[in-house]
Symmetry: C2
Amino acid sequence: MKTLIEVLEDARRQRVAVGHFNFSELAAFKAIVAAARTVGVPVMVGVSEGERGFVGVRRAADLVRSVREEFGMPIFLNADHTHSIVKAEEAARAGFDEIIFDASALPFEQNIAETRKAVEAIKSINPTIIVEGEIGYIGTSSEILEKTPEHISAHTTPAEARQFVEATRVDVLAPAVGNMHGLLQSMVRHEAEKRLDLGRIAELAQAGGIFMTLHGGSGTNDADFQQAIRSGMTIVHVNTELRLAWRRAVEAALKASDEVTTYKLLEPAVATVGEVVAARLRLFNFM
Amino acid sequence: MKTLIEVLEDARRQRVAVGHFNFSELAAFKAIVAAARTVGVPVMVGVSEGERGFVGVRRAADLVRSVREEFGMPIFLNADHTHSIVKAEEAARAGFDEIIFDASALPFEQNIAETRKAVEAIKSINPTIIVEGEIGYIGTSSEILEKTPEHISAHTTPAEARQFVEATRVDVLAPAVGNMHGLLQSMVRHEAEKRLDLGRIAELAQAGGIFMTLHGGSGTNDADFQQAIRSGMTIVHVNTELRLAWRRAVEAALKASDEVTTYKLLEPAVATVGEVVAARLRLFNFM
C-alpha cells in the first residue's frame, strides 16, 4: 500500500490531482469510498473541526483504517482546517495522514509563526504526517452563500509562497488563487461558476516546487480545474457539492414516503453523493 | 472490561435488563453511546442484515471496538436477526459479541435443526460468542404498520422452550410472548400500547433458566416492560422508536432552514434519539 506522500508524488508526475472530499456521517463516507473504488483512483477524505466534533476524531481514524484494511484501497484521512495546535496534536495521535493547519486568518507573519509551531508539534508526534499550511482568506464555510464573503484576500504571490514554505517547512501549500469555500446561490442555479487565477497558479508552481492544494473546489469551471491541475495543483477539495446532494436526496426520500427505516432514507443520498464524487474524480484524473 | 456473558449474569442477578438498540448510521449510534454513558449502564447495539448491508459488517465491528476502547465502556455488538449461516459466520469472524440466528419462520423442527447448525458454525469460529435462537413469528419489520401482521404465532410454551434450548444449545432464547416488531399507527398516536403475556414469561423463566430476550419492545406498556424484566427478560430490543425519532428530527431540521452542513442537520436527531434511548435504559434498569 502506497503512503500519501507516494500517492502525491505519483499524481504530480502524472499531472493529475487527488480528490479530497469531506464527510460527517456514513452515507457520504460510503459514497466516497464506493466512487473511488469504481473509478479506481486514490482518494482523500477530510473532516473539519466541526465534522470531527460530530464523527469523533478516533472514530474518523478507525473508519478510514477499517476501509483501507478491508478493501486494500489507497484512502487517506485529513484533518481539514485545523485552527489550534491542540486539535492538530489530537489528530496526529489518532493516526491522521494529513493535517491542514490553518492560521490564514492571522496577519502573514503570525500565520508563519503559528504554522511553524504546528509543523514542529505534528512532526514530533509522527514525522510522516503531511502538514499543509494556508495563505490568504478564501472564506470559511462550505455552505450556500448569497454573495462572496467580504475580505477575500488578494491572490497569493510567488514571493509570499516561497517565504511561507521556507519559514514553516510545510509539505503542502494552500494558496488563494480565486478559489473560495462554499457555493453562491447563482452557482447552485448553474448561472455562474468559479474561475481560477490560472496564471498565478502556474507562477506559484514554478516558484516553489511544493505540492499545492486547491480548496473550495465546488462550483469551479471544469476547464479551469483541469488547467489548474496541469499547472501544479495536486490535491483538490470539494465539499459543498456533496452536502447539497445529500440534503436534496434525503429531503426527497422523506417527502416520497412515510418510511422510517433509516438506511432506506439514506440510500438515495449514497447514490447521488457518489455520482458527484465519481464525476469529480474522473475530471481530476483526466479520465 | 466485563464480557457480554458477565454483563448478562449481572443483569439477571440484579433483575434488570440490558437495553439493545439498532443503528445504521452515525447519529443513532452516537445517541446510543452518549445515552449509555450518561445513564451509566451497559448497552447492546444491533445491526440487522439490512442494517449490516448499509453500515458494513466490518465497519460496524470496528465502530463498536473504537468506542469501547476510547471510552472503556461496556458496549456490545449483536448481529440482529441473521437468517443464513453464511451471514452468521461473517459476523462471527468480524468480532461480533452476539449473533441472533433467526429461523423462526420455519416449522419448529426445522428451526431447531437450522439453529443447531448455526450454533456449531458460530462457536467453531469463536466459542465465546453468545448465540440467540428464536421461537415463533412476531413480525419482521421495525416499521410503522397499519395493523398487526398476519400469522403472528401463538405464545411460546415452556415445553417448546425447553426442547428448543436443549436441542440447539443456544445461550439466549427469544420467545413469542405478545411482543411484535414494529409499531402500529395507533401506538405512534399514543392511543394503544403493546401488552405482554406476563404469566407466560414467568413460566418460561422458571422452566428454562436460560437468558431470554424481548424483541419488538417499541410501544410496550411501561409496567409490562418492568414486570417482564423482573420475571426473567434479560435483554430488551427497541428499534422502531429510534427510527421514528430520527425521521421526525431530520424532517424538522430540513424544514427549519436551508442548512446544507450535514452534521448540523443530524444534530437534532442525536438529541431526540438519545432521549428515547436514555428513557428506555432508565426504565430497563429501574432507575
